[in-house]
């Protein structure tokens, strides 16, 4: 029973990370119908920036903020400089551009910080809670991870639902031409979408870094998890991304605990294939409604 509780709790913590990465992918997909394969590399860079800032003597909070700000800038610049040129081109062009960006960012990180994984500080203790004499795997830092991701998800949901910016972003995503005819600066909304996505990614990077160590390729598995979670949630639904992330985190945690961690990548792949075969529009997609 303790094992089940352990696996469930760590599944929620892992799932929160997948959810944050999935949110990043979904924000970009909604805005520009592009799957950002460079997402993992972008959050790796912002996490390295946090690492450098903390290494220079700043506090964890300042490092965290540095990751957020650099994510904001990196996302906006990527959209303006690279993606805008391929937004109206065939989808494959954007795929190649994001893969190219991935390669460049990984190489640059290797040149600056080297390829040996580095340890990254955690915000809170990594020692599990003790309940009635048993020590759980779930740590105060995991609580922090889950709370931060919940705050990000709720913050984004409120932004989309209640602010004019959110309304304009939704309009630009659903019907770009009509939005332009209503005076919405659609290009700017796309830039904001990419910037917010990169911020969500940056948060995921800083949160997960203590447990995966920090190297140019450390976050590739996280990106795959985030991608599966996004597809599970329907690729264009932010709440779907969060629920997809949590479901995936739980599923992979049980597989890892009961069947062995070697099976985790295979299980993620199997879930992806199953979703694409049985319900390709995902669990929460608005795709059907759009055909009205």
């Amino acid at each position: 029973m303790t094992k089940f509780i352990d696996l469930t709790l760590s599944g929620i913590s892992d799932g929160a990370i997948y959810a944050a990465v999935a949110l990043a992918l979904v924000l970009i997909w909604r805005a520009t119908r592009i799957v950002n394969f460079a997402q993992g590399a972008m959050l790796m860079i912002t996490t390295f920036i946090a690492y450098a800032v903390i290494g220079a003597g700043a506090s964890y909070v300042v490092g965290f903020l540095a990751a957020l700000l650099s994510g904001l800038a990196l996302g906006a610049v990527t959209e303006r400089v690279l993606i805008r040129r391929v937004e109206h081109a065939p989808p494959l062009n954007a795929v190649i551009v994001t893969l190219g960006l991935y390669t460049v960012l990984v190489a640059v990180a290797g040149m600056i910080w080297g390829n040996t994984p580095k340890s990254f500080p955690a915000a809170f203790s990594l020692r599990g809670y003790t309940v009635g004499g048993t020590t759980l795997l779930f740590t105060p830092n995991d609580t922090f991870i889950v709370l931060v991701v919940i705050a990000v998800a709720l913050g984004l949901a409120a932004m989309f639902r209640f602010t004019s910016l959110g309304l304009q972003m939704r309009a630009a995503a659903f019907a770009p031409e009509v939005a332009r005819l209503l005076g919405v600066r659609v290009g700017r909304m796309f830039t904001v979408g990419w910037a917010l996505a990169a911020v969500a990614g940056a948060i995921a990077g800083v949160l997960v870094a203590p447990s995966v160590f920090l190297g140019p390729n450390s976050f590739d598995p996280i990106l795959i998890g985030g991608f599966v979670a996004a597809v599970l949630g329907g690729l264009d639904s932010p709440p779907g991304a969060v629920i997809g992330g949590l479901l995936l985190g739980l599923a992979l945690s049980y597989v890892s605990g009961y069947e062995g961690s070697a099976l985790v990548p295979l299980a993620a792949l199997a879930i992806l294939v199953l979703v694409l075969m049985i319900r390709p529009s995902g669990l929460f997609s608005a795709a059907q409604e759009r055909r009205v």
Binding site: S164, L167, Q168, R170, A171, F174, A175, E177, V178, A179, R180, L181, L182, G183, V184, R185, V186, A286, E289, R290, V292
Partner: protein
């Protein structure tokens, strides 16, 4: 108010709009008529910049707005209600309306005003726009355009797919809007008879060219033209 001089636009090698000139003054309705494929929709899309003009000029309130970005043209007060009632189906009625006034900031029309104009929309304000009937969608897209308090209104086939009674209502409302808000209205219609009944002038397009530009009662009386281009 709105003047189009020798405007042309192309789809690849096809000239969809061919040296079109016309004028619309404040408080008046100009109907653009013609068969399917005559270039009516392309003309509106070129005026608001959705299709780049290959030649000619569009002058709005004394300023040349040719080849400006769409959203900048709209922000000058030139509203375009696209064909097929471009409501955003995923947003609620109220959100669609809000969106129309955002660029105006505090000077946007109060939603209350639009709901008074279209009480049906008020009853459905929290519903998704996808739940609306064809007539309601048309009201929503016109109301949404009015949120930004435009000076000119371009309407693309507002009668399309509506029952005759509704068409008459919409046309009467267009006339009323032009009169009460002093709007310059450019009304693209295939339904020539109802459009001419409310328009001051009629412009007939064929293969992208202007073949007639006259006061609407003269146009309606010209039997040859009616038979050749207007189908009534």
């Amino acid at each position: 108010m709105l003047a189009v001089h020798e405007l042309s636009a192309h789809y690849g090698p096809v000239r969809a709009v061919d040296h079109v000139s016309l004028e619309v003054s404040a408080g008046s309705v100009t109907a653009v008529l013609g068969a399917n494929g005559a270039g009516k929709t392309s003309l509106l899309r070129t005026i608001t910049g959705l299709i780049p003009a290959s030649a000619g000029r569009v002058i709005f309130e004394g300023e040349d707005i040719t080849r400006r970005p769409v959203e900048e043209i709209v922000r000058r007060g030139l509203a375009h209600v696209p064909e097929g009632r471009g409501v955003i189906a995923e947003l609620s009625v109220d959100e669609n309306l809000r969106l129309g006034g955002l660029w105006r900031g505090r000077d946007a029309a109060p939603r209350k005003e639009i709901y008074e104009l279209f009480p049906r929309l008020h009853d459905r304000r929290t519903q998704l726009a996808s739940r609306l009937s064809g007539g309601e969608r048309q009201m929503l897209s016109i109301g949404r355009a009015l949120m930004g308090r435009p000076r000119a209104l371009l309407l693309d086939e507002p009668s399309l797919g509506l029952a005759p009674l509704l068409v008459a209502q919409i046309m009467a409302m267009i006339r009323r809007l032009a009169d009460t808000l002093d709007l310059a209205v450019l009304l693209v219609e295939q339904n020539a008879r109802s459009a001419l009944s409310v328009a001051n002038r009629g412009v007939v397009l064929n293969l992208g060219r202007v073949v007639a530009d006259e006061e609407s009662h003269r146009l309606a009386a010209d039997e040859g033209l009616r038979h050749a281009y207007l189908g009534f």
